[in-house]
Subunit: 328 residues, 2 copies
């Protein structure tokens, strides 16, 4: 299998990307890693690279503050666009980028192209849960306004992903809502609820944002706006609480001593809330595997993304999605 | 001033309500507290009540699982409806209830009535912030679907509330959104952004849910659906983190010992995230003061709600709101 990596996108590019590629190439000899970027930058970092890493030249970079669609249209020789083209032309089975999220979504639509039968691709990161199993949540920001039918497409794609990539037989699908009763919600969720009940999925009903971390479902569907609000609210609350704890626990000599004893305990709690544990969010609904890594991905997180991508390729995710939607 | 208290609504009714009324009556002799409920239940709890507490008989109770509008229409002799009628008829300056939220909103609309010039009342609780000053956020669930103009009305009402009740001169108004740039968001927030820029308020732009606890604004406006998603996501994340910490810190003898030393520190962090600190959310946009207390309000929380209600009455909030919107 061949995986293209946008070697220039993300906070720790290109070092983390080269490092993870070297590690992945050694662990999985069947995998060909294509580092897309400036050879003059990448070659010295690679050194005497193994046979299953190659460089695909690309001399521009899409920056994190570039306007997505404009950047994709103008920077046709950027590492991200070139990686997308490799997928489109069948020269790579998947691409991974930790760069500008909006630009990656634009590449999904404009370069790789939509999957037949899908109106709107959705970005589907894994949410951490207390039992470490995680929830696949979509859409988390690819589309701000959604119609009820889009949520049904998300439910179908998310179910297939959890089945093919994570081996869950009948993934439980929940609808993000303000209450658990069927009649709750806004116009969108009320209409989506009825459609989801008819869909060929294991629909378990409404899910409240306060319960998400307890894993009430395996796939959570929502519009990109409220999904993004939830995601950032949880991240923000966690970050604030840890900041408060740090301030309190270093306030006095005694508290510092006691906190020192508890350091491993605190670390375990922090790790549970860590989104990097599940790095690699698929853009579901495009005609190829397009994977978004966290902007802050280090080499370990990038390797997690590569591992997930390998599983998705190995289990024929895109062919299964194409099958599912081709008749629709 | 006269404050009607729904003495039968909430998890700790009627005991907490009677206790808080007795305490408030003693502290504020200028305030007349009207306990609405079954005299046979309330009288024994009151004992020899001071002259500024009276009982207004009401023999039905709206339960937390009653269907709101139906309950308000049918249980016309319930404590919540009778309290609303006292406000409507000018026999009370305000009402407070810790009962069924949906029913209280229905009473706002059907019994008390909308304020002239307001399309949709909004429920405006205070969000805790790190500096303890809090943010007034609306709407948090009174209306699931909002139009851009509703968000502008929320901004005007919220500003006036922060000014009249909390003495903030030019309250900073933020718009809940998925990014801070002006062009971010869904159709609703994009349109609302433009209107808010023109409105006679101190608009500070978009606010992300991850930053809310740092108090980027004094008033936060949003539609009821995403507001409720954010509120419950923050509550849920905080509750999960404290649960994880508790499990970790009681896991071994050593960790228990160290955690014992840090108990006051943990409590301070927990208190910062406590929504009960700010009990008493006004239903803004109805023609009278209707205050929602937390369902789990104890006597202390109920007294906080009474204190806030007194300030709102004393500063002429409803007259100021009526003035603001009468020409619109």
């Amino acid at each position: 299998m061949r995986i293209a990596i946008d070697a220039m996108g993300g906070d720790h590019a290109p070092h983390a990307h080269v490092e993870s590629a070297l590690s992945a190439a050694a662990e999985w000899p069947d995998t060909h890693l294509i580092l897309v970027g400036d050879p003059e930058v990448l070659q010295p970092l690679l050194g005497g690279a193994p046979h299953n890493i190659t460089i695909e030249p690309a001399y521009e970079v899409i920056e994190s503050d570039d306007e997505p669609v404009k950047a994709v249209r103008r920077k046709t020789n950027s590492s991200m666009v070139v990686a997308g083209r490799l997928v489109k032309e069948g020269k790579a089975d998947a691409m991974i980028s930790a760069g500008n999220t909006g630009a990656l979504m634009a590449i999904g639509l404009l370069v790789v192209g939509r999957l037949k039968g899908i109106d709107r691709p959705g970005l589907a990161p894994m949410f951490p849960t207390l039992d470490n199993a995680g929830i696949l949540a979509l859409d988390m920001g690819a589309n701000m306004d959604a119609k009820p039918e889009h949520l049904v497409q998300y439910a179908l794609m998310g179910s297939l992903y959890r089945n093919k990539v994570h081996g869950i037989r009948e993934p439980r699908v929940g609808l993000l809502n303000v209450g658990t009763e069927a009649a709750k919600g806004n116009e969108l969720t009320k209409a989506a609820f009825e459609l989801l009940e008819q869909a060929p999925i294991n629909f378990v009903g409404n899910v409240e944002s306060r319960d998400v971390l307890e894993r009430p479902c395996d796939v959570l569907v929502c519009d990109g706006f409220s999904g993004n609000i939830m995601l950032k609210a949880i991240e923000g609350a966690a970050s604030v609480i840890f900041k408060l704890l740090r301030a309190e626990l270093t306030a006095s000599f005694t508290s510092k001593l006691a906190a020192g004893v508890l350091k491993p305990n605190f670390r375990r709690v922090r790790d549970k809330m860590d989104y990097n544990e599940y790095n690699g969010a698929p853009l579901l609904g495009v005609n190829g595997l397009v994977i978004k890594g966290h902007g802050s991905s280090d080499a370990k997180a990038m390797k997690t993304a590569i591992r997930q991508t390998r599983t998705a390729i190995g289990n024929g995710l895109i062919a299964a999605l194409a099958d599912e939607f081709s008749g629709k």
